[in-house]
């Protein structure tokens, strides 16, 4: 983790689009999975229609597209621990955290206790977190 030679930057991946209607959600996830190997400080944000990416119970057989919703549950294994969901985007859509998948990670600093990855934040709080980032990738 702490290689003196290595640059560590704060990367945020911002997702504002619904899944399946366009490919952005899936190809964004592909970047995140690769990025996890680079030992950077990664966070994900789900805003606007992006919150739909995390809904439970996605079944894509009938539309013929690949179902990638299980991949979000694997993010914890990739050591991705910070997943921000914007509060007002959920509310506007009549959704609560219960409608989203339960995403967790194991906290190695706390005896590998399972902890929630998803943090509900206001737009203003998210704006503050965005400002702390070095690199923001939006899809």
């Amino acid at each position: 983790m702490s290689d003196a030679e290595q640059i560590t930057k704060k990367f945020m991946y911002i997702n504002r689009k619904a899944p399946y209607g366009t490919i952005y959600a899936w190809e964004s996830l592909e970047v995140v999975l690769i990025a996890a190997a680079f030992d950077q400080d990664i966070s994900l944000a789900f805003i606007d229609d992006g919150v739909y990416q995390l809904t439970k119970g996605q079944k894509t057989e009938a539309i013929g597209l690949k179902n990638f919703s299980a991949t979000y549950r694997a993010l914890g294994d990739y050591d991705i621990q910070k997943i921000y969901v914007e509060k007002e985007s959920l509310e506007t859509r009549g959704l609560t955290l219960d409608d989203l998948q339960h995403l967790v990670y194991e906290d190695e600093d706390d005896d590998y206790a399972e902890k929630d990855s998803i943090k509900l934040v206001s737009a203003d709080e998210l704006g503050k977190i965005m400002e702390e980032q070095n690199v923001v990738l939006s899809f």
Partner: protein, 101 residues
């Protein structure tokens, strides 16, 4: 003449549904497909306007797109689900089709 309007955009990110609801005439039908299916759910900021449309129009939603998005529960009362075969039927039962892209 009666028209089938299809809406394939999330109402939260595009004007398509709003304008469709303003243009669609009584007796016409509206079908939500792709990301348009998010409009079919109870409890959103668009629920009231969809319910208003149901008073004098038929509203349909494409089940395969609902399933894909995990949006099966909380469907607004009065919206009917169709599969691709039902989509085809809707186009033949109406005189023309307008896609709100």
């Amino acid at each position: 003449m009666s028209m089938l309007h299809t809406v394939n955009k999330s109402p939260f990110n595009n004007d398509a549904l709003s304008k469709c609801l303003q243009c669609a005439q009584p007796g016409s039908s509206i079908l939500f497909i792709e990301d348009g299916v998010y409009a079919s759910r109870e409890g959103t900021t668009f629920t009231d306007s969809v319910k208003e449309a149901l008073k004098d129009k038929q509203v349909y939603v494409l089940q395969p797109d609902l399933d894909a998005r995990g949006m099966n529960s909380s469907l607004i009362d009065g919206i009917k689900t169709v599969d691709y075969s039902g989509f085809v039927d809707l186009t033949t039962e109406h005189d023309s089709v307008q896609s709100w892209l």
